[in-house]
């Protein structure tokens, strides 16, 4: 999670660990729902890519 931009890790934490819905998170952050959903997806994509790098065999 430390590898993510703050705005992406923030929405993921509120959703996954806090249990808030995207609309609730949008209210909390004062951001459009579409922006919140976009940050969630981008954050997950970056996490996935980060995990792929970690899984690469060392050369």
């Amino acid at each position: 999670m430390d590898s993510l931009p703050a705005e992406q890790s923030h929405v993921i934490e509120l959703a996954y660990f806090g249990g808030f819905t995207h609309t609730e998170i949008a209210d909390i952050l004062g951001a459009p729902v579409g922006t919140v959903k976009g940050r969630m997806r981008l954050g997950l994509e970056k996490l996935r890519n980060h995990l792929r790098v970690l899984e690469l065999p060392s050369t």
Binding site: M1, I12, E13, E24
Partner: protein
Amino acid sequence: MSTHAHDHDRWADSLGAWLLGALPEDEAEGFRAHLDSCRVCQDDAASLQVAADALPMSAEPRTPPPALKDRIMATVESEASLLQAAGPEADRRPRRSWFGGLSLRPALALGLAALAIGAVGGVLGREALDQGTRTVTAQVEGGGRASLVVEDGRARLVARDLPAPPSGRIYQVWLDRGGKTPEPTDALFSTRSDGSASVDVPSLEGVRRVMVTDEPNGGSRTPTGKLLLTATA
């Protein structure tokens, strides 16, 4: 544009929220229906599920207090008794999800387990971030969820599914700075009809814990009511 393409355009940006369990139930049902027929979203979901599954491991490990084991074992034994009473039907496996048996529920269960360990351990949730923004998940007594969102020196307590305060009482925020009794604040709030609530919390400078109790309308100078939640600042 085909009906399918139109359906995909409508739902594609909900995938991340769905994987995080952040879609309201009616939207989640709609998304699952779309997912059943959309190969693109199925592939995307399978690709991103690994990231969602890794989230529980991103929580910082905490040393739980000895009482945690007792509480966990009490829950396990209680559920074992219920399962035994329910008979063989309780052992039936739930319907598997559409992609290779990967299910969101185990991830959520792990997340909740990590949250529980963090909560009982004292530091609640995971502090996030740089840029002066962090989120602390609170331990809520008796149901509901709450987080303390700290941003640019300002803090806001947000919650959902909280019980309404007892009649004639209101929730009050207290700040524990390590003194004999917590300091009162004028942050008073009640729940909305859907159980959600939010309230601005005064400066957290020097504050160890943020607590909420129910108090008589107008608030109290010292806590008199039942503890609703605690968040380690």
